[in-house]
Symmetry: C2
Subunit: 161 residues, 2 copies
């Protein structure tokens, strides 16, 4: 570890996962929102308190067919690729925690594979255009999307402790 790592309680992997391609991601669309670097809420709860950010999903050509059977009001996962974040911070010290924490203990966008998931509700649906209104997002306008899935209570809530 360098002195810098030592000082701020963060640790880097020593390699960049972005340089070790085991598989490829192909973006299926992008988030549209009112949020950008200067005004983005810290999390989706804060986004909802601020009205949700005029959030929607715009799919790329060919993917709209994949929405067949979806309905307004349905709960879904939106899986985004947080491509602005470093991928090698294996131990981090976020402002809201008392000390350093492993990346897998955090929902930080800075992670080996920067996949983020949001549980949201569909507020509008244009099956032809491939545009889905969602109740909120905490992602910048233009954030790439890698997947959309139905939220299912029986599988998305862990078993009791």
């Amino acid at each position: 570890m360098s002195e810098d790592d030592h000082r701020d309680g963060e640790t880097r992997l020593g390699f960049d996962p972005a340089d070790q391609a085991d598989a490829s991601v192909s973006f299926i669309g992008h988030i549209r929102s009112d949020w950008s670097k200067g005004n983005c809420p810290r999390n989706i709860g804060q986004s909802r308190q601020q009205g949700g950010g005029n959030a929607r999903i715009e799919l790329l050509d060919g993917f709209a067919l994949g929405l067949a059977g979806m309905t307004v009001g349905q709960a879904i996962w939106v899986v985004t690729w947080m491509d602005a974040a470093p991928r090698d911070l294996i131990v981090q010290r976020p402002g809201h925690t008392s000390g350093p924490r492993g990346v897998f203990r955090l929902r930080s966008p800075a992670r080996p594979n920067p996949v983020a998931m949001s549980a949201v509700r569909i507020t509008s649906l244009d099956l032809d255009a491939g545009v889905i209104g969602i109740d909120a997002t905490d992602a910048y306008d233009g954030t790439p999307i890698v997947d959309i899935k139905p939220w299912i209570e029986a599988v998305d809530i862990p078993p009791a402790d």
Copy 2:
């Protein structure tokens, strides 16, 4: 669409997302389980009924540090890469549905970016070796893992309809 597509109610994209690399995934580890092609349960609920499959996560070198702060009993997401599935089936007809459905309406492993998420509990933890016991999996032994995150009730349950 070919006649084949028409007959079985499935539709392909006309291109393979695997050939359109917008970003790269770097595996952080693998699932270890009793499951393989011949005996794998259909979903994680069925896996739990069968004892969970002796499920654990083995991280690759360097990633164990990312577990700092995690505890036995904690609920986590395990994000896997279902790399055996085709990526171009935009409309599918699974056995359990009454007709064709868009891929984004399904939790099928066959999807443009084959990311699967499971909500599980940690049953054991070896922070030095980077091995996490989990209560169950429905993934084959050897399935690659792309991320681990804490499950957080406030963000992982969608708002009321």
